[in-house]
């Protein structure tokens, strides 16, 4: 099967029951999106655009009011599919302290497996493997609260890996981290995609991170407004700024230079490309 996460004309509203009469806020207004197996998609949008709400529809935390959502082939609107979906689609949230439940790293990673009733010897094997994958094996006996933010997020990712997921959704996993923590988490994400074929959906406000994805989807007021490879998306500097977003610094520099009439390609989004292009110009 080719399409792995699929939304068809998806509509979703939050309902505030405290008010009388209840207030309905429509957050997703007919989203259609098709994500293929093994793809690394960055999901961008300003605060309140609906990107987190969309991500939560893919692991059936939110159930569509209208339209259809399929995750790994399962219809997310059917109650009997909730467990199979959640076993296949893992989620990592922004604040590392909100998603660690145990007092020892390896127990935290084992938490979901214990709940799934996996054999103890198999749990041991999978926990070790997951911790090695994210580079946290030597910390398996440590207390999670003593780790750095980046290390905690890698432990959270290991907890999901141990479940052998097909998809990992990450909702601003690097927002609270220092630069090296951000780099650690991003390296881990890319390794999951490249070496294990995991499908990745990354929500982020860091444009340099989004530039490393295969594809960027931009959500604005509940609709998909851009969906293309990073080079094509970031080439539209003015449009991105209108949407409350940004572009990588190198893209912005090239954009300003082009406006001054300097002959440079418009699709520079990485440091390497920028160094190369400027070197040709200035050498």
């Amino acid at each position: 099967m080719n399409s792995f996460l699929k939304a068809e004309n998806l509509k979703f509203s939050y309902i505030n029951n405290i008010e009388e009469p209840p207030v309905r806020t429509e957050v997703l207004k007919g989203v259609s999106l098709d994500i293929k197996k093994g793809e690394f998609v960055a999901l961008l949008g300003h605060n309140g655009s609906g990107k987190s709400t969309l991500a939560k529809c893919f692991n059936a935390i939110n159930i569509a009011d209208e339209g259809k959502v399929y995750s790994c082939g399962f219809d997310a609107s059917l109650e009997e599919n909730l467990l199979p979906i959640r076993q296949r689609v893992g989620m990592v949230f922004q604040n590392p302290d909100n998603q660690i439940v145990a007092t020892i790293v390896e127990e935290d990673v084992a938490f979901a497996l214990e709940n799934m009733g996996v054999e103890p010897s198999e749990i041991r094997r999978r926990v070790d493997e997951a911790l090695k994958t994210v580079g946290m094996y030597e910390y398996k006996d440590h207390a999670p609260h003593k780790l750095s933010g980046g290390q905690k997020q890698r432990v959270a990712i290991a907890g999901i890996l141990a479940m052998k997921p097909q998809v990992v959704l990450l909702d601003e996993p690097t927002a609270m981290l220092d630069p090296s923590g951000r780099a650690e988490v991003l390296k881990t994400i890319k390794m999951l995609k490249e070496e294990m074929g995991v499908t990745i959906v990354l929500i982020t406000h860091y444009m340099e991170e989004a530039a490393q994805a295969d594809r960027i989807v931009v959500i604005d007021s509940g609709n998909v407004v851009m969906d293309d490879v990073p080079k094509k998306v970031f080439a539209q500097v003015e449009r991105m700024k209108e949407l409350g977003l940004d572009v990588p610094q190198v893209t912005e520099l090239v954009h300003h230079l082009r406006q001054q009439g300097v002959d440079l390609p418009c699709d520079i989004i990485t440091e390497d490309e920028c160094v190369k292009a400027l070197y040709e110009l200035l050498k």
């Binding site: 980046g150 406000h205 700024k241 977003l245 940004d246 610094q249 230079l257 300097v262 440091e271 070197y279």
Partner: protein, 284 residues
């Protein structure tokens, strides 16, 4: 005169227990009045512990803290007045909103200072304008606002106390790029208008490079350096070894320079990079 001064400031957590940790180690620092200081450091470097000393939330294990020439903790009765001089905005300050209306929430700090109603009203209107909160929102519950608005109300509440030093711990964390630029721009405007001292704690090297006149770097509980952005970002390798980085644009020009392009100067903002490139091109 230095508005903030520390002498051999040291703070130890869990003294006498197996968890003893020196969080701030012999820091000597002098920050001049009117500076806009970026504070950077890896997670656990001691930057939060350091700033909590500056308005007396923590008492030094050893060493001294001076605010506006006056030593904190010397006379406990003076502590309250000194605290009014140093406003501290914590991370995710929107979680600390509690009043019934936006107006009352911003009023809380100034009221505690014992100011007159007129003066309180003036300050609320002024700070709300500075952070872009319209007066129509004054009677609303803070909990009805968007995330970005809530955060700006919380910041206004501290600004309204007109502290000589305003310290903000990651005020832009979790905001989208536009929200981030807006809030940091407003803080900079406030600094320009009030000519006070601002300390901005951030994990974004790009934001610090764009706004700060000086940068304070904490590393493993010690003050690593306190210097201009040019001098700080010149130490790219050292910063990277301590879990930090330099802006992307700085890395690009360092690499160009290593490849033999005569860049000449340290680059740390996009605008400077643009002007420099144009200059280099016209000199060719």
């Amino acid at each position: 005169m230095a508005i903030i001064k520390t002498e051999n400031l040291t703070y130890v957590y869990g003294e006498g227990t197996p968890f003893r940790k020196v969080a701030v180690d012999s820091v000597n620092l002098e920050i001049e009045e009117g500076e806009f200081v970026g504070v950077i450091g890896h997670t656990g470097s001691g930057k939060s512990t350091l700033i909590q000393h500056l308005n007396g939330l923590l008492k030094p294990t050893d060493g001294k803290v001076f605010i506006d020439g006056e030593q904190l903790w010397e006379d406990k009765k003076r502590l309250r007045d000194i605290r009014f001089k140093v406003g501290l905005v914590f991370q995710y300050p929107e979680y600390q909103l509690f009043e019934e209306t936006v107006y009352k929430d911003i009023a809380f700090g100034p009221k505690n200072m014992g100011l007159s109603e007129d003066e309180i009203d003036r300050r609320i209107r002024e700070t709300a304008r500075m952070v872009g909160i319209r007066e129509e929102l004054f009677d609303k519950s803070p909990f009805e606002l968007s995330g970005g608005q809530k955060r700006r109300v919380a910041i206004a509440g501290v600004m309204a106390m007109e502290p000589k030093v305003l310290i903000l711990d990651e005020p832009a964390s979790g905001l989208d790029p536009k929200g981030r630029d807006k809030i940091l721009g407003q803080i900079r405007e406030y600094h320009k208008e009030k000519k006070n001292t601002v300390l901005l704690v951030s994990h974004s090297m790009e934001d610090v490079a764009k706004h700060a006149g000086r940068i304070l770097v904490m590393n493993k509980s010690k003050l690593y350096m306190y210097d201009t952005p040019v001098n700080v970002f010149a130490k790219a390798d050292e910063l990277s070894n301590m879990g930090l980085s330099v802006p992307q644009i700085t890395r690009v020009f360092k690499r160009l320079s290593a490849m033999g392009v005569n860049v000449g100067e340290e680059v740390y903002t996009v605008y400077f990079a643009k002007d420099l490139t144009m200059k280099l091109l016209s000199n060719k």
